[in-house]
């Protein structure tokens, strides 16, 4: 992202800018505490940590952006190295000042231990020199990388990514291969503690090379990019097989991914097809969950003792009815105001649910507990895997319904109203009815997700129905590609699944979530897997 901004700048100012910005980014990761968290995570053989890799990549990026392509070859490299040295000096200088000034009372992450790691265990001039040399060399490498032919660069990138994926998703690989190969004898060969062993690193490098070769070959043979359909089949196969060959945790994460994809499909009808921005989506999710709980739970609050299968349609209908009641008054509100109105409604529902006023009926802060699992052929579905397959089946059903709707007359009416309301109205489309239909259907889908949520969790609490849910669903929809069904799944996988696999980084995963949202929107504002029709029209 840095490169385009600097195109017009003079060489000196380019070096200066890249160096200072890079140094400050380094200071930022230390001050926010990301570095300390990453430094504790080994990647290769207990000797290279994720923190070191992060600092090196920053320096690499500095070199990359300072290596002005308009300059001569050697001058370019000199610029890259100079910017790296500058970045190193800024970085180490700021950390040394922080150490002297004892800033930990104000900035909690600047503990003596973190600063010591950040300064390579050195003090004073030695630290400055070390930072300058290390950053200068990596920046030089960054400059070199920019001069490389594209295939070589891509290969290097593939190798790097393979090593990172191999190390960071360690638990996933161990469980996957021990289910596939049996036994765990190979674990201590591939992994050393939390990181890869040297042998493991070699394996990862080989996998990265193979992947790159495979891609190059595949591209030459196919002549064009794989089609959307093939991708879809691949996605579905992965969704069925990966949790099966791994463990309950993967199934649990995929269950969450499926749940959010289900809600995303619902919101996609409202927003992607009908163009209604709804931030109160969580209210219908809550209605679905609470109705299911009240109808099935083994609790004094329950009003019936139905099975999950009997409760599911009722919960869906209740959520749809909720959509109708909310939708009628607010659908005349236009554009952004609709987002605010629905956000307000969603929050009101949450506040009512948690209040003492409603506690005698729906449990208030204590929630509702003792919700049974669904039964299949007389036996309760206890394992996460079976619950995941239930979620997947329902998600596919709902996605299919969404797809059919999109290509029905109703869907075309939505599209017409979305593109131009006035024209649609003159064509005889009843706008209120059309919008209400989208809103009610979206709410019904959220109700299905709510029912699933209640039965898989076994207990529900009002804290689960915050605005964050609506925002997450909106974000995954836009990141995946508005109006695109496969986009919903890709968005859900990246925004819901990925943070769960990076749980070990605690709250920093939300920091990366934020950066990821910005990055995707800046690089691909149309989403990762856009709908071909919508991509053309926008």
């Amino acid at each position: 992202m840095m490169a385009p901004d600097m195109r017009g700048a003079a060489p000196q100012s380019l070096v200066l800018k890249a160096g200072i910005v890079g140094g400050l980014v380094g200071v930022y990761v230390v001050a926010v505490g990301v570095f300390a968290a990453f430094a504790a995570r080994p990647v290769v053989a207990q000797s290279v940590s994720l923190g070191q890799i992060m600092l090196l990549s920053i320096a690499l990026a500095v070199g990359w952006s300072a290596a002005d392509p308009r300059q001569g070859r050697s001058r370019r490299l000199a610029m890259a190295a100079a910017a790296g040295v500058l970045a190193g000096l800024v970085y180490a200088g700021a950390l040394l000042v922080a150490r002297e000034a004892k800033l930990q009372a104000m900035f909690v992450a600047l503990s003596p231990a973190a600063l010591n790691t950040g300064l390579f265990g050195k003090a004073g001039m030695a630290a400055l020199a070390a930072a300058a040399i290390i950053a200068g060399l990596s920046a030089l490498a960054g400059g070199l990388a920019r001069q490389m032919p594209a295939p070589a660069r891509r290969t290097l990138l593939a190798v790097g990514v393979a090593i990172l994926i191999g190390a960071l998703l360690r638990d996933l690989w161990i469980s996957f291969f021990s289910n596939l190969l049996g036994g765990r004898w190979w674990v201590s060969t591939i992994y050393a503690g939390n990181g890869l062993s040297w042998i493991g690193t070699a394996v990862a490098v080989a996998v990265g090379l193979a992947w790159q070769a495979f891609r190059t070959l595949g591209r030459r043979e196919a002549g064009k990019q794989r089609t959307s359909l093939a991708g879809l089949v691949l996605l579905l196969a992965a969704a069925i097989l990966i949790p099966y060959f791994t463990n309950a945790f993967v199934a649990q994460v995929m269950l969450l991914v499926g749940l959010y994809a289900l809600m995303g499909t619902g919101l996609n009808i409202e927003l992607g097809l009908a163009g209604l921005l709804d931030l109160g989506f969580v209210a219908f999710f809550a209605i679905g969950a609470y109705v299911t709980a009240l109808l099935t739970a083994d609790s004094p609050l329950a009003i019936a003792q139905l099975s999950f299968w009997e409760a599911l349609p009722i919960a869906t209908l209740c959520a749809a009815a909720g959509g109708f009641v909310f939708g009628l008054p607010v659908l005349r509100v236009r554009g952004d105001y609709l987002a605010l109105a629905t956000l307000g409604l969603g929050e009101i529902v949450r506040l009512l649910v948690v209040s003492d006023m409603s506690a005698p009926f729906i449990g208030g802060a204590q929630g509702i507990v003792g919700i049974p699992r669904p039964e299949l052929a007389g036996a309760p579905m206890v394992s996460q895997l079976s619950l995941y397959y239930l979620t997947l089946a329902l998600t596919c059903l709902v996605a299919l319904a969404g797809w059919r709707l999109q290509h029905s007359p109703i869907g075309r009416a939505w599209a017409a109203a979305r593109e131009d309301e006035d024209v649609a109205a003159t064509l005889g489309i009843d706008l209120v009815q059309s919008k209400l239909r989208a809103y009610v259907l979206g709410a019904a889908f959220a109700g299905v997700a709510g029912a699933l949520f209640a039965t898989t969790l076994g207990s529900i609490f009002p804290q689960s129905f915050k605005l964050d849910v609506s925002i997450n669903v909106l974000a995954l929809l836009v990141v995946g590609g508005l109006g695109s069904l496969p986009g919903v799944f890709v968005g859900s996988l990246i925004l819901i699944g990925l943070p769960e696999f990076l749980r070990e980084f605690g709250e920093y995963r939300y920091l990366f979530y934020g950066f990821l949202l910005i990055l995707v929107m800046r690089v691909r504002p149309q989403g990762l897997w856009p709908d071909p029709l919508q991509a053309r029209s926008s």
Binding site: L180, G182, F245, Q252, V369, G458, Q463
Partner: protein
């Protein structure tokens, strides 16, 4: 990659997955037969114990404090148990049901775990414990205090749960007794923040206070994220209660004590809080207004708990550079000790290999009697309550966070 897999290995994988998906059935390994299955720890291999605690978010202090307690307990046994290194696998339950569910599932997917310590929060326990018990992994609670977890109605999914933390029922009763008898308050108001904990304690307080003969003149609540409590305090002020009972967490609690001084009609009302605010973070947040605030909490004095606790706090200070950051550290310490004592009873050792029957271990946990813990003598009931807490009332004496030390700031005031 799947293309290279032979049919045979697919069949093996199928069997493995199906087995993992079903509840464990009777199993014999080495010298041990157990109807819930057997965990085998080969000679030299680590004894793995899971733990799910609230490690991030606003309530991170609860989990981190407990984890430090676990770490000190581990250090005391030099990190080994009968020649096996003890390895604790930590997960974050974010003090929420979904967090508890995800963390518990992640732990449950590791078949080598002997047992799990945690959670910190009741909501996480409600969702997480049944998942672990599905895999017959017993859980030792280090912080959840909701009565529902050990109530007669808790159901078979909680059969594998015991806790070293106390039961909120006892907190509410003690606070009501203290308010009515010691402070002589005849009227009281209550305020909770809509949390599982707060609402529960308020309800038991109200019942006990009424039973003792007092009158509840106002029963109010705020949102957990509310910052302006003055309107609700003005409303309480119109009822002129002699006492305000407010079991709040740090942030809301600090808003309360800071703003209570601005309400003229509450000048003669005594404030009684509970132990979530027994933490230096409360002093940072509340400043001078913290001085004089009375808090109901566990009696963590050496006289009550014995000299072991004093030594423990000294170790804590040296190891982590600060005094305990919440009141959960001792639970973490006791939970590991209690668990290993139960492993002692349930495990069979043969040629350096440990065989632990899962049912035997859970039975041993529930049969714990007279275990000498930091928080007193621990004896578990059939429903899993092990603590017999001795309560005390504390009062803050200084607003300096680094002066926080149970005994001086806050000092004990009920006796």
């Amino acid at each position: 990659m799947a293309a290279h897999t032979s049919l045979k290995s697919i069949a093996t994988a199928l069997a493995v997955t199906m087995f993992a998906a079903l509840p464990a059935s009777a199993e014999t390994k080495g010298p041990v037969t157990d109807e819930n299955g057997v965990v085998v720890v080969p000679a030299g291999e680590p004894l793995q114990i899971g733990s799910f605690l609230s490690l991030t978010g606003a309530d991170a202090a609860l989990g981190i404090d407990a984890r430090r307690g676990v770490e000190i307990a581990l250090e005391k046994i030099s990190g080994t148990y009968k020649g096996h290194p003890v390895e604790i696998v930590y997960e974050d339950e974010t003090c929420s049901p979904e967090g508890g569910q995800t963390a518990a599932t992640r732990l449950a997917s590791n078949p080598e775990l002997v047992a799990v310590l945690g959670p910190s929060c009741s909501g996480a326990g409600r969702a997480g414990v049944p998942i672990l018990w599905q895999h017959k992994v017993p859980v030792v609670g280090v912080g959840p205090t909701s009565p529902t977890l050990t109530a007669p109605t808790r159901g078979p999914t909680f059969d594998g749960f015991v806790r070293v933390s106390f039961n909120d029922n006892a907190t509410g009763k003690f606070a009501a007794d203290y308010a009515f008898k010691t402070l002589g308050a005849k009227t009281a108001a209550t305020l909770h923040d809509g949390s599982v904990y707060g609402e529960q304690v308020v309800r038991t307080f109200e019942a006990a206070f009424k039973a003792a003969g007092g009158e509840i003149v106002a029963s109010e609540a705020v949102g957990a994220a509310d910052t302006d409590l003055r309107p609700v305090l003005t409303r309480i002020g119109t009822k002129k209660p002699a006492l305000l009972f407010a079991p709040l967490y740090v942030s809301t609690g600090a808003y309360l004590v800071r703003q209570m001084g601005e309400i003229a009609s509450l000048k003669d009302t005594e404030l009684l809080a509970t132990d979530p605010i027994l933490a230096p973070a409360f002093l940072t947040a509340a400043g001078k207004a913290a001085i004089g605030v009375k808090v109901v909490g566990i009696d963590f004095r050496p006289e009550t708990l014995g000299p072991a606790y004093q030594t423990f706090v000294e170790t804590y200070k040296t190891k982590f550079g600060e005094p305990p950051i919440s009141s959960f550290h001792a639970y973490g310490y006791d939970a590991l000790g209690l668990l290993l004592a139960a492993v002692d009873k349930a495990a069979v050792e043969k040629d350096g290999t440990l065989y632990i029957g899962k049912k035997a271990l859970n039975d041993a946990l529930h049969a714990t009697a007279g275990y000498d813990g930091l928080t007193g003598k621990l004896s578990c009931s059939a429903l899993g309550d092990c603590a017999s807490p001795v309560y005390a009332v504390w009062e803050f004496t200084s607003e300096q966070p680094d002066s926080y030390a149970l005994g001086t700031n806050p000092k004990r005031v009920d006796k």
